[in-house]
């Protein structure tokens, strides 16, 4: 595999997998936004990137020119064989596929799951609370969404490491390595087919069975392929996204004692604070494929190129968010788009929010004092989902 040429001109030749982008994308986005509401790169077979809140919104609402059949910018564009409805669906197929997944993820449904998530958090904290230091990404934030989604789907929580391996291969390595991508998708499909088959003879009371019992718009049960696609989506989208969001929030709190103390003193502020963490450190960047020539913010857009749909960049647009680069945990007006906009609003947003609130509450209850370990290094995942993958912390007030 050829190593990509390092970027020298961000505006005309951006690369969202460049290590500098992964490490600290915010000044790069400011530079791009100052240059134009839409920038373009020839890399990855041609990609546009809207840089402002308004331009991102324009693309998110326009399903006529921008298709979701490809939602990740990669080096290659292999023929589409595996879909993951509804995230990869366009109208009119999108709505019925989405409707099936909405009821299990309402805020009320999440309230029922919340006690299990609180237990999961405490089981994890028990394992390191008496140690002087911990990699919170590897031992805490990573496991919470894995176990929560496994619990909902009705698959073993211990298979978590396998899920994380597939996600890393699909979302990160798969950007440049088609073979690894295909193998991971294959393995994941095989795994879920086993669970689908098992439920045909022994139905269970979990999300897999719910999907298997659901009816499509034609009144017929969903095909195994549809169920499989939606399961792939729930697993891929439900794990490293929330892992990242919880991790970035803890990272912020580790280096901002004033916010930590305030959240301990005013726990009722937590639901507002997580919205600000979601805005400032939004993990998810989506993509679209241009299927009809059009314009974004007046700029001409050609077919066959991809669009990098950076909700994180939109959320740093100072035209919409005063002091966009400042984390203000009681920000009053916060129309952030961390979960997308329009018909593709993240189906798991209520789950993600509940997990973030519970994970931070339980952590602060048991570990009110912590800071970044100056001897360690915080590392970030690249590409579609950005969050800390190594988060070395010193625990307790003694340090």
């Amino acid at each position: 595999m050829n190593k990509p040429v390092p970027v020298t001109d961000w505006i005309a030749d951006f690369d969202h997998t460049d290590p500098r982008w992964t490490e600290n994308p915010y000044p790069i986005w400011d530079q791009l936004r100052a240059a134009s509401p839409v920038v373009h790169t020839d890399r990855f077979l041609g990609v546009y990137m809207p840089t402002t809140y308004e331009a991102v919104k324009e693309v998110a609402y326009d399903t006529e020119h921008f298709s979701s059949r490809r939602i990740i910018v990669r080096n290659s564009r292999p023929p589409i064989t595996q879909s993951a409805p509804p995230i990869t669906s366009d109208p009119p197929e999108h709505k019925p596929a989405k409707q099936l997944l909405l009821p299990p993820f309402t805020p009320d449904a999440m309230k029922k799951l919340e006690p299990r998530v609180r237990e999961i958090c405490n089981e994890l904290i028990d394992q390191f609370v008496n140690e002087p230091s911990v990699d919170a990404a590897a031992r805490y934030t990573k496991h919470i969404p894995v176990r929560a989604i496994a619990h909902m789907l009705g698959i073993p929580e211990q298979d978590g490491d396998l899920f994380i391996k597939w996600i890393h291969e699909i979302l990160e390595l798969g950007i440049t390595d088609e073979e690894t991508l295909m193998r991971a998708v294959e393995e994941m499909s095989h795994y879920f087919m086993g669970h689908i088959q098992a439920r045909k003879s022994n139905p269970t009371d979990d999300l897999i069975s719910t999907l298997m019992n659901a009816r499509g718009p034609d009144g017929q049960p969903l095909s195994d392929m549809h169920v499989l696609g939606s399961l792939r989506l729930l697993l891929i989208a439900g794990i490293d996204t929330t892992w990242s969001a919880i991790g970035a929030s803890l990272w912020h709190l580790a280096k901002t004692p004033a916010d930590r103390e305030r959240l301990i003193a005013e726990p009722e502020l937590m639901p507002i604070a997580i919205e600000e963490f979601l805005r400032a450190y939004s993990p998810v960047t989506m993509a679209r494929e241009v299927i009809k020539e059009t314009t974004i913010a007046g700029c001409p857009i050609k077919t066959d190129h991809m669009v990098l749909l950076s909700f994180p960049a939109a959320n740093r647009d100072p035209a919409v968010f005063p002091n966009a680069d400042k984390v203000i945990i009681d920000r009053k007006e916060n129309r952030h788009v961390a979960f997308g906009l329009g018909i593709h609003r993240c189906v798991g947003s209520n789950l993600a929010r509940m997990e973030m609130i519970v994970a931070l509450e339980e952590w602060l209850k048991r570990i009110p004092d912590f800071r970044l370990d100056p001897a360690g290094k915080v590392t970030w995942s690249e590409g579609t989902v950005r969050g800390p993958r190594q988060l070395p912390l010193l625990l307790g007030a003694a340090h």
Partner: protein
Amino acid sequence: MAGQLKIHVDPDKCQGHSRCKSLAPELFELDGFGNAHEVGDGVVPAGLEDKAWLAKSNCPELAIDITED
């Protein structure tokens, strides 16, 4: 004195982010799909005006309208 406020959620715009429900649970309710609508006829009881404005200013889809009688 300002008149009475009335809220309305545009069902075509609401995508179920549930920010309004979280910020002003007295004023909004969710259906079985998680999409929001105003409680009752949308008239905002005295004392909850700030919450109504807060919900409106946090809706990413701009789905909430507030009218003043």
